[in-house]
Each structure stands twice: as C-alpha cells, then as structure tokens.
Symmetry: C2
Subunit: 384 residues, 2 copies
C-alpha cells in the first residue's frame, strides 16, 4: 500500500444556513479544498452524508455534486454510516489511493439539516438507532446517551458537573474557531441550569442541528512531496462496528467499536495513545466525549469524567481534545463532522490553527462515531 | 493491485416479501453467499442500498447488518449511488482487497421497497433525480425515461414494438430463473395493450417494485486458487458520472456515464465489446436497455432497437443480454440489483445457470446505473 498525504482542506462557517442549499454549501467548501491543494482536477470523490434523503429529499448526491463541482465524469461515491459517514469517506479515499486505482481523491462530507423542522430532524437522526427495537419504542438520541450517562455515573461515580465541563471546555476552544457555529463561552452553571432534554442531559450537553460541509484532498505522499506541500500523512485508519442497539451491549458505558477502530489505527500507525499530541473526538453529547477518551486509551476505563475535571483534555492539558470546539461548539452537520475533524487536525499539524494552535503538534487523531456507537472510524495523521 | 476473484454468491427469491423485514432478507441472502464460499468469517463488508431511510426509516444499516449477520466488529460500509449502489459495493470491495487492506470481503445489496405505499415508493425513487430541477417540477422516473424514449424514437426511428421486444425477451429469460419475481412470458401485444404510464412507456415497459437482496464474496485470486474454487476473476471495473438532470445533457439518448465506465472497465480488463460472452444490463425501463447496449459499444449508436428486434441480444443471439430476466422480470430492489447482476454472471461463468446457461461463457459483463444515467458502474468478470 502506498503512503497517503492530505494536500488540501476546506471548510466554511457552519450554522443555520437558510439561504444556501446542500449543493451550494458543498461546492463552496470543496472549492476551498481544491484551492488549498492548488489543483483543479481530481480522479475520484467520496461524500459522507447520513441522510440527504430524509433531510432534503435527495439521494444520488454523488452524481449531483460531481456535476455541480464541475468534475464530471469522475467516479463519485456517497458513503453512509450515520454520523461517522465523514470519517468513512476519508477511509475509502485512502484505500483508493493506497490501492493505486487513483492518485488525487476528494474526501468530503455534507449535511443540510435545517430545511426540515425539529421533529423531522429528530426523526431523521433517530434512523441511526435501531428503528424497530429503539425508535419505535419512543427513544431518541438524547435519550440513548442519557441512558449511557446514567450508567456511567452509577458505575464510575462520574458527576453531573464533570459532564458539564466537557461542554464548557469545548465552547472555550470553539471561541477561537471562526468557523464554529456557536462562538461563545458557557459556564458550568449555565449547563446545569439549561433546559432538561433527557435526564441527566440538558440542552447544553447536546451538539446542535447544523448545516455544513468539509473537504480534504489526499494523494500519494510521493506526489505531495513533489508538490512541495507540508507533508501531513494519514498513517493509520481503523473502522469497526458494534451492536446498533445499546441494550445488546455487555456494558453500555463502553464503546467497543471505537476501541476496535482505534486498535487498528494504532497498530497500522505504530503509535500508542501517549504518542498522540491532540485528538478530535465525537462529542455529540458530553457523555460521549468521556466514553470516547476511555475507549481510545487516553484515560483509564471510568476515568473520563475525572480527566476532563482535572484539565487533562483542555487546550493546555496533557492531551488537548477537540481544539476545534468539537461537535458541541463547532456544530454537527452529521455527514460532514468526520471530515471537519481531519480539517482541524491538518491545520494543527501544519501549524495554521491560529489562536488555538497546539504547540509542536506532530501527531493527531480523529475519532468519528455513528449512532450510539454502533460504528466508529479512527484516523491518525502525522507531520513528516 | 492484487487480482480478485468471486468465491461465493447468494440470492433468494425476489418479490413482494411482506412477511420479511430488511434485516431478514439481507441475512438470509448473505448466509447463502458465505455457505457457497465455504467460510464463516469475513474481513469487511459493503452494502449497497439506495434509500433505506425513505423505504424503512432506517439509516446506519452497516452497523445493523454486521450485527445481525453475526460479524461484529468488522468494518461495514453502506454505499449509495441510487440504483447503482450494488455495483458500487462490489467496486469498493474490489479496491479494498486489491489494496491489501483486507482479504475476504462481502459485497452486497439490499432494498425493502414494499413497506411503503406506491406514492411513497415513487417519491423515494424520485430522489435519484434532481429533486430541485426535476422532482419539484412533477416528473418521476417513468416520465424521465419516456422523454429519453421519445427522443430515441425521433432521432433513430426506434419503434414502439422494439421497446416492447426488450420486455418480451427479458420475461422469456426470466421464466427460466426460479428466483425471478415475475416468472411468466409476455407478448408484444400484451406490452402494447398494457396500461399507459408515461407515453410511450406502458406498465410492461417498467421494472417493478421489489424486495430483495444479493451477495457476493470476493478475495485475492491466489487465495481462491488455494481454496480450489472455480476461478471467476473480476478483471475490470469502471465507475463514472454524468449530469443528474437529463435536460443538461448534450444528447438525451446517450448514456455518457455508462460509456465512460465501460471504457475504464474494457481498458483495465484489456477486452473489447466483441470479447464479451454475456451481459447483465440495467433495464429499469425497456428504453434503458436499448441505450445501454449502445453506450457499451455492443451495437452502434442508434441501433439498439434494431438489435433487439433482430434477436442479437436474445439468449441464442450473438451476445445474450439479461439472461437472468433483467430488472424487468427478475425484479428491481434498487440497491441489490448491481450485485444480482454479478450473481448471474458468476453463475453463467461457473456453468451453473441451468436452463438459461449460455454455452461456453467465459467473459461476462455487468452494467448498473443510477437515476436516469447520472451514474454507472461496470464490471467485467472472466473464468480462468
């Protein structure tokens, strides 16, 4: 397999983009990535999107977006594994370049979530859970993660305040990210006093509904070297599944798919958790970030809450988590999130993260997750 | 890139399977493929599905089906490019094996279309067209293909009877396929007298609404050889896009994405149209088969109607097309169709096609198509 590098990244301001359509948002973002890479043609493209069918009544977006991006007749592929669709787009692009089938591949993600009302958006997101055994019984995603949070609190003594501190940290980071949907600080008190969504989770424990896209261009590392680009290599990839229903898991607090995907990525990259300088993780809810840091081996099992409280994962901590603001502050256009993580890590490894730059960042990781953890995609990137 | 072979195939009887859920149909089919391959573990799986979100309210089927198939924690990926999702699943599996990332990959497709009513199914299928510029103007798929048919008739003198003969041929073939949804003969008169759907297309020009799945297991050719399997190699793959709107094409009667995908596959396989012994093509409507045979270079531009009339594409013709019965008789569970084509070609190349066996079949081709031709995936298989 050939070594692969990221040579271009693109992302626009995320939010409730009522004046733009899915195709507008996508093309604007993909063009930024092409410009950043200094190229105008690609060999192939991957688009992560969770549910363009339910959100905007449009499947077949691979054909649509290849067309609107002016890249016909390139092969264009939409991939989906709920909220981990973006991470998957990078992984498949990586395999295509690694196999020798293509050289320059656009790995991207997009979701336009605000064209429908809140109930419809909740329904669409709920299709990432087991519809027959979870959705039809009335549970939605805040409810599923609330169950995980309760179990974690009971088993490990994780506190309500520790959950809140994940959101406070991520908003603090997001304040320095001009592309974030919610660029403002919040306090522990604000989280604790915000509207209850599903006990123990309040509205400020939840990532928002967002319109947005993100794009990354990859090519063989040898080609990137010849182009004189800063060499940001994708040195590890992992992808794994777990039961789609949380009730079927041995331990609701343990994200097995994330653990397995990370294990693969660490092995391929020949890295250990202590080699990682920063991580973008899938904090769709505050409890998710806590469970993910445990599954990635960054902290011990059950210690995720304590770690955030101790500042271990803060910008100035031992291992900064979600310097971009995470899903909580940056926003969570579901199919785009996995690629936005790659955009942030690439910026950090290039030393282009401005006010939120992690000093001497050399190795970064991304962890993207579908549903309540039924799938996960992990990547490790390194600056040569 | 490593050579890749098909070592297992699975398909169950297609139709209106009201007593079975998407997961039932899928697992039953995938187990047949595992049994046929003589294995019980896979390294990775791909699932083509056009719109499980709109048809059964379930996204994230990669996690769901890996779980129900008992294959956790394997990486599982759902891919979508409308009705060409199945073909795409094989292509991505092929790249994964070719890259060396995995050895044994399940490439599959599934669609459960009859859990919704006719209007909802028409809406769901319509999301493969450009929703904003085609769907919202009131056109559905029979209408789009009717426009193509009218243009073909006007430009090349293709007749209403020639269209009918595509359906008659495919039903004749499907009669010999025990897994086909509609196992009965039809006549030209029956097609001409059937209910008008969108002038000039009648109901018997249209493929049906179907529940079904199909599965194929691939691995490195060297491994297949050691297993003592009949060596059916996938020697060519192609994937391309065209404008999603037919109004944006230079010539509505020409399927550019199919032409480009075939060009790639012929080049990779080092084959020409005259080397192909049989083809499974995407006859979602009778006119589609005519246009596809032209784009594949099997007949000259504009001659697709004459070719079917002359019997060139019949079972006993120079190049049998749709020996399985095609989408028309076998059924068209959209995400599964591309893999069912691979199942048929593999059966033919193994010499296991029973009453519909093409004598001395050595090289076969599959052509799968999304929307009104906005995307297409082509494969060439060869028996060693």
């Amino acid at each position: 397999m050939r070594d692969v590098a990221v040579i271009g990244i693109g992302m626009t301001k995320w939010g409730e983009l009522w004046k733009k359509s899915l195709r507008d948002i996508y093309v604007e973002t993909a063009l930024l990535a092409l410009e950043d890479a200094g190229i105008d043609r690609i060999d192939s493209m991957y688009i992560g999107s969770m549910s363009s069918g339910l959100f905007v009544g449009q499947e077949h977006i691979a054909s649509l977006l290849a067309d609107y991006l002016g890249q016909l007749p390139v092969p264009a592929t939409r991939v989906e594994t709920a909220c981990a669709s973006g991470g998957l787009a990078l992984r498949l692009g990586l395999m295509e370049v690694a196999s020798g089938m293509s050289n320059i591949v656009l790995a991207s993600g997009v979701e336009k979530m605000t064209d429908v009302g809140g109930d419809e958006a909740t329904y669409a997101l709920g299709t990432a859970a087991d519809q027959e055994y979870e959705g039809y019984q009335g549970i939605t995603f805040p409810g599923l993660y609330a169950l995980i949070a309760r179990a974690h609190m009971q088993k490990y003594g994780t506190t309500r305040e520790q959950l809140a501190k994940v959101a406070v940290k991520n908003h603090h980071n997001g304040l320095k990210n001009p592309l974030a949907q919610y660029q403002f600080e919040i306090t522990v008190e604000a989280v604790l006093n915000s509207v209850k969504v599903a006990d123990p989770l309040n509205i400020l424990d939840c990532s928002p509904i967002t319109d947005g896209a993100a794009a990354a261009i990859i090519c063989p590392a040898d080609m990137a070297r010849k182009m004189g680009k800063p060499l940001i290599k994708v040195i590890g990839t992992g992808h794994a599944t777990d039961t789609i229903q949380i009730s079927q898991r041995k331990d609701m607090t343990w994200l097995e798919a994330t653990y397995q995907a990370a294990k693969q990525a660490y092995a391929m990259a020949d890295k250990k958790p202590e080699d990682i300088d920063l991580i973008e993780v899938h904090d769709c809810f505050t409890i998710a970030e806590i469970c993910v840091t445990e599954a990635l081996g960054i902290v011990d099992k059950g210690k995720g809450g304590e770690a955030v409280e101790a500042g271990l994962t803060a910008m100035e901590g031992k291992i900064p988590v979600n310097t971009s603001g995470g899903l909580k502050s940056k926003g969570h256009p579901v199919g785009a999130t996995g690629i936005a993580q790659v955009v942030e890590v690439t910026k950090q490894l290039r030393g282009e993260a401005g006010e939120r730059q992690v000093k001497d960042a050399r190795v970064g990781m991304t962890q993207n997750m579908g549903g309540s953890g039924g799938s996960s995609v992990v990547h490790i990137l390194e600056r040569e």
